[in-house]
Amino acid sequence: MAEYTLRVRRQKPEADDRGPAGPYWEEFEVELDPTLSVLDGLLQAKDRQDGSLGVRCSCRAAICGSCGVKINGQSTLACLTQIGEAQERANRLARETDAGADGDGDGNQPIVVEPMGNMPVIKDLVTDMESTHWKKIRRVTPWLIDDGNPPERERIVPPETMVDITQTIACIQCGACVSSCLSMEADPDFIGPAALAKAYRFVGDPRDVDTEARLNDLAQDPHGIYDCTHCFSCVDACPKGVAPMDQIMRLRRLAGHDHDIDDRNNGRRHETAFVKIIEKKGTLDESLLLQESYAQGIKGKLKPSKAAIKGLLGSLPTAIRGIKTGKMRSLPKLIPGIHPKLPGDAQDHVKRIYKHAEEHREELNLYISGVEDDEPAEVGASAETTVENAEERRDS
């Protein structure tokens, strides 16, 4: 047993004699085993101190997806986070910031629990998932579209395809990825990690006949697959290993590469340009990225298409903003042609990586871990080590 302080971001949904509606912080002291969860801590506070503390929860075992929250800033499930680990993280974060430097960070810091991000709060830790998460899920036509002619028996499909989509079926719709999504913070209309992972569940399903239309839809939507900035937040947040970003990248490969979908967001061309530049130079030549994205290979050509010119001009404000804010630091680097290649034979290494990647299009998957038995397991080892202790027990 240990004592913890939970610092909870509460939201009073309605005014009453205790005060007006609105958000506030409240600290709860709880006492429990470090291997129990932050949810157990919240429920203890609710059971013993304040029954009005709002938090959705049901299974306590990371299956139902109810208790998505932010703990010390990280989107996750409250039931899946051990309170002892949350305490260590809270202390570490404090040490890394000013509080620690001032010498206040020696003792235990409060564990901060907040409602999920990118969603309106209804009450305390309860968010409105309907108007955000579920609306986005419905956006991707989330049901199987078959050929309308089911066979008498089951559909025969390659076994690995079912294993493959099981990774996205493993999604429990908790919203942690949506909460953590940086793209959605910038563009609330972004379809987002959960819904796009759900989309892959159908695109990757050989029983679904609408693959091309689904891919085209998601590629053409300005808030679709090319809106993801590849930041990995959703991969970190996902409690079930769905790795939504990976699913988005697979959708991109399928759309841009396999189905040759030329999207109006310039997403595919931008990606192709990026990949091509790295292949040639090893690091990103920003002077080429824009023009290569909009009109591949225009360098040296006199007549780029109107669309390309329009696209390039349209990007100018962004480029200027980048220069102003210091994101593009070195002005000379914007002059085409002077970006250096990698030194020595490093560029050859990069090319070899490319060659390998092209020859081996591996789709890593939770359920196809690729791990064979690496060593003989020690069968029954720990069962044997505690035989002596068993002798002591005669009470039940």
Binding site: E14, S52, R155, A383
Partner: protein, 534 residues
């Protein structure tokens, strides 16, 4: 048509059904074989006509789910593959890794989204009572909208309860916090008989303390049970089926090992999954890898994990016929809240999803047909006022008057787990019943903190507690009354099965304030009761 659910539907507890769903679909398997295994598993208390219906219709149900998009595991030919499960004479369990229930429920929710113009969804609406008209028909239900606290009377020609089990009466339990037996208690209060309420399944492999479930699929994949001496003790109890004997048998064996001092000091035995090839573990038991890692700090691919029998499932529930119809016209029940009875004294693993799906569909079809034949009957608005008054009264209670809801829940749970568990006797059951009755009184004055309208979970907790106490009382009474050992009911003071006196169901019907005991015959079609050996 509308679906009313106190949580978002995908949060429901069918999520937790890990291992799979049974059906005699493969060539060489027969529905009769599946039915016999189920009858034997039930310790001959299951109604064989209902079991026949379930097992005959099972293959069609699997194919229907496959066509809707459930990504069932395939064999090398790309056809549906199976795994072995407890109490079954053949490998006939179809599965999606170890998230079968989750996969099925999410696919069914996809269908709800697809047909949203036909089916309204009332998500986060808590049902407080059933509406019964003057002629005794069920004509609707009263709900509280969790989002804003508003009360509403839904009018319906038929109401189908699909409210799940009541495992929260026990602590610990594998069941989710929402499994408080609301539907069972509401039907009971409306006058419908409950049946087989003494038959409570303790699952052989749950995590000590936390109660989390480790799927029977682990043993289906070949995992062993070991006592603290490292012995595969099932040799003594079920030499043929070993770890895959039916659940009541395995749980009793484990508890015997533990009680006789061959368990670990923390009151557990070990489940050794390391004998299953690692690649197979990752592919087929992924969830258990996570449960081991996240909740027990154990890498199940490298070391055994400590487990014990834990509360898991209620075989009993609202008595229905094979169409899900209860004794109240217009009221149906399906799934764990219902008792058809296909599980009798003990449910086989991977038969619960099947029971839910088969009798859910049959109840729906029967109710739809009935709706076409009958006229509307309006419920009296008085019930809405009654329910509002009930909630108003709880809200007004002062702190000084009584105990906290959570305290009562805790005492109920630990009491039931102590006395109404794997082994039972008259003394313990009597204590349990006395405690439940005292808690029922205390619940009448228990207070809550939250007086608000928006997402007031406190008031819902108070309502759930009263539902739980009704179920618990029925379970204690039925367990005390059945003076024999059959299936999950093992009476140390009556250790033998007694077909002469007890080859019958116990029913409980609300009479005044207390349940009245009655009996229902067990339907036997082609399998005469025989000694049960695994």
């Amino acid at each position: 048509m509308g679906i009313i659910s106190k949580v978002h539907p995908v949060r429901s507890h069918s999520n937790a059904a890990q291992g799979g769903i049974n059906a005699a679909l493969n060539p060489g398997d027969t529905w009769e074989s599946h039915a016999f295994d189920t009858v034997k598993g039930s310790d001959y208390l299951g109604d064989q006509d209902a079991i026949e219906v379930m097992c005959r219709e099972a293959p069609e149900e699997i194919l229907h789910l496959e066509h809707l998009g459930v990504p069932f595991h395939r064999n090398e030919e790309g056809k549906l593959g199976t795994r072995a499960f407890g109490g079954a004479s053949q490998a006939r369990t179809f599965y999606v890794a170890d998230i079968t229930g989750q996969a099925i429920m999410h696919v069914l929710y996809e269908q709800l989204m697809k047909y949203s113009d036909l089916i309204d969804r009332y998500e986060e609406y808590f049902t407080t009572a059933l509406a019964i008209d003057d002629d005794g028909n069920c004509v609707g239900a009263v709900t509280r909208n969790v989002r804003d606290g508003s009360m509403e009377l839904f009018e319906a020609k038929n109401v189908i309860l699909a409210t799940g089990g009541n495992g929260q009466i026990w602590k610990p339990t594998t069941n989710a916090l929402i499994c408080t037996g609301d539907g069972i208690a509401m039907a009971y209060r409306a006058g419908a008989p409950l049946m087989d309420m003494e038959m409570i399944q303790y699952h052989p492999t749950t995590l000590a303390g936390k109660g989390f479930l480790i799927t029977e699929g682990a043993r289906g994949e070949g995992a062993h049970l070991l006592n603290a001496k490292g012995e595969r003790f099932m040799e003594k109890y079920a030499p043929n089926k070993m770890e895959l004997a039916s659940r009541d048998v395995v749980s009793r064996a484990e508890q015997t090992e533990i009680n006789e001092g061959r368990g670990f000091p923390d009151g557990t035995v070990a489940l050794d999954i390391t004998v299953v090839p690692k690649k197979r573990i990752h592919e087929a038991l992924r969830e258990i890898v996570l449960v081991g890692r996240d909740f027990a700090g154990v890498d199940i691919t490298r070391e055994p994990i400590r487990i014990k029998p834990g509360n898991h499932y209620t075989m009993g529930g609202v008595k229905t016929d094979v169409n899900g119809a209860t004794s109240i016209p217009g009221l149906y029940a399906a799934g764990e809240c219902a008792c058809v009875s296909v599980h009798g004294g003990n449910r086989l693993g991977a038969n619960s999803l099947l029971d839910t799906l088969i009798f859910g569909r049959r109840a729906g079809a029967h109710a739809a047909d009935r709706a076409k034949r009958i006229d509307w009957s309006r419920p009296s608005r008085a019930i809405l006022a009654d329910e509002e008054a009930k909630i108003g009264e709880i809200m007004k209670r002062e702190r000084a008057t009584g105990r906290r809801i959570s305290e009562i829940k805790h005492e109920l749970g630990t009491t039931m787990d102590k006395y109404v568990a794997v082994f039972r006797d008259e003394e313990g059951l009597t204590k349990a019943l006395e405690t439940v009755r005292r808690l029922k009184e205390e619940a009448k004055t228990a207070y809550i903190d939250d007086r608000g309208t928006v997402f007031n979970q406190d008031i819902l907790g108070a309502l759930e507690l009263s539902f739980m106490l009704d179920s618990a009382e029925c379970t204690c009474i039925a367990a005390l009354h059945r003076t024999e050992s059959r299936g999950a009911q093992y009476r140390t003071d009556y250790p033998e099965r007694n077909d002469e006196e007890w080859l019958k169901h116990i029913t409980l019907t609300l009479d005044g304030d207390e349940p009245k005991i009655g009996y229902a015959p067990v339907t036997i079609t082609q399998w005469q009761p025989a000694e049960r050996k695994y």
